[in-house]
């Protein structure tokens, strides 16, 4: 498990190295640091502006309180629900569409910022690599050999984040438990309830625990919503 974790960690490291190398090859003009600062400032301004517009739109939603206040005096729950539905159709749909447009613009800005930052970091890492190789020229051939041997992983950003997070967790866990005995082969090795052994066993299998946890949470939520519906009816 530890060896495979280290191999996976090395593989994931290559996922950052390879795109960096290919990005360097594609990038001919290195943006100077001060232009990155300008890009960052523009980006931050755009994000602030979008956030302010979203807040303004959200504040109009406070008129939801009016129909609900009416319930307190007239006990007309059905009438209140009709009023809310009408407000949604006439006013909030338009506001919600405006909010969605602002979110879209926000994501575009953050993607542009991410691209600028990525380019900057690529160039910095290239300079560091070059400096290290200058210190020890004999390593260059080995370095190039390793790069060509390791299979690169090309994934979209969300998948890279998820896979890297899992691999980092695996590597860190392996390092922190290096001197500890391997986890048991089953949750209850002595065929008796043993919460500590089960904890060690399932800490080594986070995906299994997370997926079952999500399954139970969703079923519990459905049950809770059914209970709520029973209560209201």
């Amino acid at each position: 498990m530890r060896l495979s974790s280290l191999l996976l960690g090395a593989t994931s490291a290559s996922a950052f190295v390879a795109p960096r190398q290919s990005h360097l090859e594609a990038s001919k003009n290195v943006p100077p640091t001060h232009s990155l600062r300008i890009s960052l400032d523009d980006g931050i301004s755009a994000v602030s502006g979008a956030t302010a517009k979203i807040s303004e739109q959200l504040s109009t939603l406070s008129t939801f309180a009016k129909p609900l206040d009416a319930v307190a005096t007239t006990f007309d729950v059905i009438g209140a629900l009709d009023s809310i539905n009408e407000l949604i159709d006439t006013t909030y749909q338009k506001d919600l569409n405006a909010i969605l447009s602002e979110f879209k613009a926000l994501f575009t800005e953050t993607n542009m910022l991410e691209s600028e930052l990525g380019t900057y970091l690529s160039n910095v890492s290239k300079e560091i690599d070059q400096w290290l190789l200058n210190q020890n020229p004999s390593v260059e051939s080995l370095y190039n050999q390793i790069l060509s041997q390791i299979t690169t992983i090309k994934l979209d950003s969300p998948e890279v984040l998820a896979v890297s997070a899992f691999i980092t967790y695996t590597i860190v866990t392996s390092i922190l438990t290096w001197d500890q005995p391997p986890p048991p082969s089953k949750p209850y090795p002595l065929e008796r309830y043993d919460p500590i052994a089960a904890q060690v066993y399932f800490n080594d299998k986070p995906l299994q625990a997370i997926s079952r946890g999500l399954e139970i949470s969703l079923k519990s939520l459905k049950f809770a919503l059914s209970l709520l519906k029973d209560t209201i009816e």
Binding site: P187, Y188, Y193
Partner: protein, 217 residues
Amino acid sequence: MPLVGQSLSIRTDILSPGYIRGLASLQDKVPAFDSKVAKQILEEEWGRPVDSVLSKISDEPVAAASLGQVYKATMKDGTEVAIKVQRPNISDQIALDMHLLREFAPVAKRTFNLNTDTVGTVDAWGAGFVDELDYIQEAENGKYFMKKIQETPLKDVVIAPTVVDDLSTSSVLVTEWIDGQRLDQSSSEDITVLCSICMNTYLTMLLELGLLRTWKT
């Protein structure tokens, strides 16, 4: 999780009748697993083909609960038996669910401001659930129960099915078949008398024998 629902299905002090009726199905009407898998388990546990042991076995289980399901079968010598087969990988599933519940217990205690040892409660549940997985222990408990009940005035009215030791393992329990009916589903005229005997038996087990298990009247 079905085990938790099963435990709650008898708590009329906590839940309303509607929920009790819904959860009661978890006692013997949980969706069954594939009978082909059940027969494979039988052959693995017995070390021989099912046909060499039984002359007949029901195609589908007569009842299915959270831990296993029961088939009606006939042995080569004509004896009718009930064969309880444990669900595959149930131990690992229980272990994972109890582990998650145990991780969530302190959070629930803080969130709902509960004045109880939630982790201890989960541990007590877990120990009970895991103990139920050992059918050999269940068979031994049944024999002990019968031996002890013979020493009480209930000896002529309360029995536990006789275990077929040669065919019972930790995952398979074979007992004599007894025709009967659940008290809560019976329309017999002597229901009241039977309920009194049940109460008497519970108290005898609790106060005299120090053992709680299922039986038949």
